[in-house]
């Protein structure tokens, strides 16, 4: 059994039905321009951080060539997303990653599984909080290390 402690939490966003969001600071590596967004987490999206066209413009100084744009399957067919390299700060942890936005559609804010699989989160639904987890050091783990 593993024990985790809650390192940090953020309240769900109010909605018809409250939704879990995460605060992400995007940093344009080249210009150092930064801005913070509350982004809904989306386990149904396999990609990185989807943003609107307007936000993409501000952070796309280091875009990838179209051959490295990823194509996702949706119920209405295939959608290709532009991709650009950024730094994302999530709960004080900085990671080198990507923002994406549809070539033809307006796009929206979503945090996909390629990011979610790099962090440990807990959804405390009854408390309407999304929390970052950190492994808790217990007497048991100390014993195991000996």
């Amino acid at each position: 059994m593993e024990f985790y402690r809650i390192a940090n939490c953020i309240d769900y966003e109010e909605n018809l039905v409250a939704k879990p969001v995460i605060e992400v600071t995007l940093i344009n590596p080249l210009t150092s321009y930064k801005a913070t967004y509350r982004i809904p987490i989306d386990t149904g999206f396999a990609g990185y951080i989807m943003v609107t066209h307007e936000i993409y413009q501000k952070f796309s100084s280091l875009e990838l060539p179209p051959t490295s744009f990823l194509t996702y399957t949706t119920v209405i067919g295939r959608v290709t997303l532009k991709r650009s390299r950024v730094i994302a700060k999530i709960f004080n942890r900085k990671i080198e990653t990507f923002i994406e936005t549809p070539i033809l559609w307006p796009g929206k804010l979503l945090l996909g599984r390629r990011i979610l699989n790099q962090i440990d989160l807990a959804m405390l639904g009854t408390k309407l909080k999304l929390c970052l987890l950190a492994e808790k050091e217990t007497n048991l783990t100390k014993l195991e290390e000996r």
Binding site: L30, G44, F45, A46, S61, L62, L64, P65, P66, L70
Partner: protein
């Protein structure tokens, strides 16, 4: 996989074979590259308008051999900077006064199918 294709134009095939030999490619490698190029252009009309993307696509193989795993920045149809990591690349670009470039890690970037984008978040 193995495939058999009938009815290929002989003249075009001979030219293709000769060009593959000049580039030191086996026929299967040249055909694979040609298919990739065709798919990319077919799917992404943006490519035709982007000189740097076209440069990358046409020189992808050579760039992967020369800069495998490194970070490179392409601008005005050529590689302007290479670096071991993003931080180093950014410092070099800032020093050159570059405010936008195509940046890629040859041989390391994902391509093609990215997975699903489910119905719940599309609306």
């Amino acid at each position: 996989m193995d495939i058999i294709i009938r009815g290929i134009n002989e003249k075009i095939y001979r030219e293709f074979k000769a060009e593959a030999a000049r580039r030191g490619l086996k026929i299967r490698e040249a055909i694979t590259e040609a298919i990739k190029l065709w798919l990319a252009i077919n799917e992404l009309p943006l490519l035709a308008e982007n000189r740097d993307s076209v440069f990358y696509l046409l020189n992808k193989r050579e760039l992967e051999e020369k800069y495998y795993g490194k970070y490179i920045a392409i601008r005005d149809g050529r590689v302007i900077v290479d670096a071991e990591n993003l931080e180093e690349l950014v410092l070099k670009l800032r020093k050159m006064g570059v405010n936008k470039a195509l940046v890629i890690r040859p041989g390391f970037e994902e391509e093609g199918f990215g997975g699903e984008w489910s119905w719940s978040s599309i609306g």
